[in-house]
């Protein structure tokens, strides 16, 4: 058997999912299950003056109707201290979609019928649906007990960089917007709670089962061992399923009250206002630079719209944006600060990239602005600023943020071997002069982001127990293996990639390795899947556990071969004395022997089962260089991505097939942010994008084919050398696309186009910029 690391193995997950035999939460059946349906606020900000649940309570099949007043003593969900969100609106509603009352009935149709019968009277309050409105001089605080809607404010650098900005030969102020997006996992939020005397079991659409177990236990005052959280097949998450939702806690509480399992299945329309949104940042940037485009100083003031209730993870994201604001460039002075503002909108949390795409978009747009200002080529301006490989590891000015081994200029060089830049520029100029041809634009993005989330001190700030991950590898007596891992994949394919790691270490056929995850009762302590930590942190834990099994198996094998341990080698699942053709023992024989205590060497405990934790020494920093080519229809303003070329350095690639899938998916979401997607509200706080008719999730015809390439610079921060790559595409793509759109329009004097670059917006620029 050759090395399994780097092999394009098809997935072990697929047959069940392809034949309709997957197990998503809504597919599970427990006898006697009742259904929840919510009454949600149709207004963005109001006092609740009356709720009449009588008619609903008397409706067919209804087991109960509850409002906040009916659940005395019910604790709020965890958040920033002093800003905890009640599970049901406590006298006032603060965004459209906030839950006001909940019905439990024997059937989902009857539950929905009864929810319609609940009468709620609202007394309107002033709606502050934007940062501008919420920070106006006369804006009243939205959250109780606070003096302002600015709920967090932090300066993350010792200097405001004013001296350096003033001293720079050129200085420019730029305002950039990273619009609010929705994660839209194809499976909305679903939970099934079963409270019994023996404890609470909850089946949950989550990325973090152990973390959710801790939340349930704390909320209900249960011992953690009494709470079992199971995340079976989960239909996408993209960060938004890492949050703890009031719906989860209420399902458990109502199961306790009605003494039967209770199921909640969110509709997509509910999902669009209930599930956390992402991004929602504005950046006020000042940059100082010299005649060559060398960046000398950067000041970034970030404003995050954190929605009506600060999400624990959500309000931490501007910190990550600040840390990454310098991108992959050597900038002597960076002054970063942020504030989070409460508005009458859906709370903001993680969405693929979570804080880093915002930074990458900002600095990559800044570089293009600098190039435009100087009349220089954007690639050349990048070159003079990129951190060189010999400067790695590179300590940024932010404490603990140290970029690992990488080759940023190498990625750009490799990209340019796949892109004939000169020819593209000629075509751009020729098409510009030909009114019958679409406008062509070329955009670049050289990026670095954070992967491999941990270590523990950082992850504690987001409310997690730690930033490590755990794995247990156990050999059965026939030499097959079972892995248990604390990550909780929802599309990433850990059953395949982690089996590859064990296959590689122990020489077991990958078809004889299975993986259990997403169940707090069967898996040892774990953290979860988010922040591109699957391979670098979870995979490293698997690697370490398998390594421990291998070491112990070698010891037993040496005893069986009557050889010295240091002379024995394991090849393709067989142990022999190195360099001999003498006797051999198979891994299966060793596994069986491991459970015969009387035949083991002295001091060796029975069994071949080892648990390992991997605490990353630091974050890892996936990087790369992307190029996007767009064409713009002059009549309609429609932007088409005609070519997208990506070079990624995610370190060691465990499975190139799955790695490509991760990059593609990220690119799709990044391109979608650039061209199609935006969650928006009107002045009254009414969502304009409350379902999939109005929120543009792109279909196959809206997205291009992608060309992907790797430059492999393994990181020394973990034993696999893997940096993570789930978020790279979403981090790199938005600015590659927007830089291309701006390039296509640059001859008209256009310097910026706000995302999303919709046909209406681009058409408007085409028709104002050229004076017609």
């Amino acid at each position: 058997m050759g090395s399994m690391i780097g092999a394009a193995v098809v997935r072990k997950e697929d047959p069940a999912l392809l034949t309709g035999r997957g197990t998503f939460v809504e597919d599970l059946r427990l006898p006697g299950t009742a259904y929840m349906a919510y009454v949600r606020s149709p207004v963005a900000h109001a006092r609740i003056t009356a709720i009449d649940t009588q008619e609903a309570a008397a409706a067919p099949g209804v087991l109960g109707v509850w409002t906040h007043a009916d659940l005395p003593g019910l604790p709020p969900t965890r958040s920033v201290p002093g800003m905890e969100r009640p599970c049901l609106a406590d006298g006032a509603v603060r965004f459209v979609g906030e839950a006001v009352a909940v019905v439990v009935a024997t059937d989902r149709y009857l539950a929905a019928d009864a929810a319609e019968l609940v009468e709620v009277d609202y007394d309107d309050l002033p709606v502050l649906a934007s940062v501008a409105a919420a920070t106006a001089a006369d804006a009243a605080p939205i959250l109780p007990g606070l003096e302002s809607n600015v709920v967090l404010e932090q300066v993350l650098s010792a200097t405001d960089a004013e001296a350096e900005l003033a001293a720079a030969p050129h200085r420019m102020a730029i305002r950039l917007r990273n619009q609010r997006c929705a994660a839209v996992p194809m499976e909305p939020t679903v939970c099934l709670a079963d409270w019994q005397h023996s404890g609470l079991t909850v089946y949950l659409t989550t990325q973090t089962p152990h973390h959710m177990r801790n939340e349930f236990a704390q909320w209900f005052g249960l011992a953690q061992e009494q709470v079992r959280v199971i995340a079976p097949d989960v239909g996408g998450g993209f960060g938004a399923k890492a949050s703890c939702y009031p719906e989860f806690l209420l399902a458990a509480e109502l199961s306790r009250r009605v003494q039967r399992p209770v199921r909640y299945v969110e509709t997509r329309s509910e999902n669009m206002t209930s599930m956390v949104h992402g991004r929602a940042q504005e950046h006020d940037v000042e940059v100082g630079f010299d005649d060559d485009g060398r960046l000398l100083a950067l000041r970034v003031r970030i404003t995050q719209d954190c929605g009506a209730w600060p999400d624990t993870t959500g309000v931490g994201l501007p910190t990550l944006t600040s840390f990454m604001s310098g991108g992959c460039y050597r900038i002597p002075v960076i002054a970063a600060s942020f504030r989070s503002v409460v508005t009458n909108t859906t709370p903001v949390g993680s969405y693929r990239g979570a804080g880093r795409p915002e930074a990458s978009y900002m600095i990559e747009r800044v570089v293009d602005h600098v190039a435009a200002e100087l009349g220089r080529d954007p690639v050349e301006v990048r070159r003079v600023n990129l951190i060189r490989p010999d400067e790695m590891p590179y300590a940024t000015q932010f404490e603990g943020i140290v970029y690992d081994e990488a080759n940023y200029p190498g990625c750009l060089d490799l990209l340019l071997t796949h892109v004939d830049y000169d020819d593209l520029r000629r075509r751009r100029d020729a098409q510009r002069d030909d009114p019958t041809a679409p406008l062509l634009g070329i955009g670049f993005s050289t990026f670095v982001e954070m992967g491999g989330f941990g270590p523990t001190p950082l992850f504690e700030q987001f409310g997690y127990v730690g930033g490590w991950e755990s794995a247990n590898v156990r050999l059965t007596t026939d030499g097959s293996a079972v892995i248990k891992v604390g990550t909780s994949p929802h599309g990433q394919g850990h059953k395949t990639t982690f089996a590859q790691i064990v296959a590689d270490q122990l020489g077991i056929d990958i078809d004889r390795i299975s993986l259990l995850h997403g169940d707090t009762a069967t898996v040892q302590e774990g953290i979860g899947t988010m922040g591109s930590r699957g391979a670098p942190v979870g995979g490293s834990a698997v690697f370490k556990a398998a390594d421990k099994v291998r070491a112990k198996a070698l010891r037993i094998a040496a005893h069986m071969l009557e050889a010295d341990e240091s002379d024995v080698e394991l090849t393709d699942g067989t142990f022999r004395v190195a360099g001999t053709t003498g006797p051999t023992v198979t891994l299966a024989e060793v596994a069986l022997r491991s459970l015969k205590p009387h035949l083991l060497p002295e001091g060796v405990d029975p069994g071949l089962e080892e648990t390992a934790h991997h605490e990353p020494s630091n974050l890892s920093y996936p990087s790369g260089a992307h190029c996007c080519v767009v064409e713009i229809d002059r009549e309609t303003g429609r932007v088409d991505v005609v070519r997208y070329v990506a070079v990624d350095d995610c370190g060691t690639v465990i499975n190139p097939l799955l790695a490509t899938g991760q990059i593609h998916g990220g690119l799709a979401q990044g391109i979608a942010q650039a061209l199609y997607e935006e969650v928006s509200y009107d002045e009254d706080g009414q969502p304009r994008t409350g379902n999939l008719v109005t929120y543009t999730v792109p279909a196959a015809e809206d997205l291009p084919p992608y060309e992907t390439h790797h430059l492999v610079t393994p990181t020394s921060f973990n034993p696999l050398g893997a940096k993570g790559l789930g978020e790279s595409g979403a981090t790199a793509a938005p600015q590659a696309v927007v830089n291309a759109v701006v390039d296509a329009l640059s001859h008209l004097g256009v310097r910026d186009v706000e995302m999303p670059c919709t046909p209406a917006k681009v058409w408007g620029l085409l028709n104002t910029a050229n004076g017609s």
Binding site: E187, L658, G661
Partner: protein, 170 residues
């Protein structure tokens, strides 16, 4: 709410059930027939996770009432595999990594199967147009396009779907 008796054959298995007039076909399949492979991903018939074949045509089963399917034959993702072997479309999705989380997959596989029944040799543009009613949030679509092309070159829609379509047209 009135109830009606419906006769619906699903994956070749006849069924006779009493359903509420407002019951959606997707809920009939999932709850009455216990076939949970067909998923619900939206409430506006945009996402296509619930796509099935109804008398040879792809439909979004969240937008069809169970009573409207009375007397019909339905083919769901559970009915595609033949004698333990997956259909060419299913095999193509596995070979080309056309799925990640798997939630849109049953609908996507049924849409692709319906496309190949109509057009056994679609080009890239025709594949992209053929699955435009199905949303995937994980793959970015390219590997789905590859999967459908793989299926077209390796047996097409498959035996179960072809038989289903032939019965519908006869």
């Amino acid at each position: 709410m009135s109830h009606h008796k419906v006769r619906i054959s699903v994956n070749g298995v006849p069924g006779e059930d009493e359903v509420e007039s407002r019951r959606l076909l997707v809920h009939y399949l999932r709850e009455t027939r216990g076939l949970t492979g067909t998923h619900v991903g939206c409430d506006t018939s945009n996402c296509g996770a619930c796509t099935v074949l109804l008398d040879g045509m792809t439909v979004k089963s969240c937008t069809v009432l169970a009573v409207a399917a009375d007397g019909s034959e339905v083919l769901t993702v559970e009915g595609l595999a033949d004698d333990e072997a997956m259909s060419p479309v299913q095999e193509g999705f596995r070979a080309c990594h056309g799925l990640q989380c798997g939630y849109c997959t049953p609908g996507m596989v049924m849409a692709a199967t319906g496309l190949l029944l109509e057009n056994p040799a679609p080009d890239e543009a025709e594949i992209r147009a053929g699955i435009e009613g199905n949303l995937c949030r994980c793959t970015g679509y390219q590997m789905i396009v590859d999967s459908v092309r793989w299926a077209a070159e390796n047996g097409g829609a498959g035996t179960a779907a072809t038989t289903h379509a032939e019965r519908a047209s006869s």
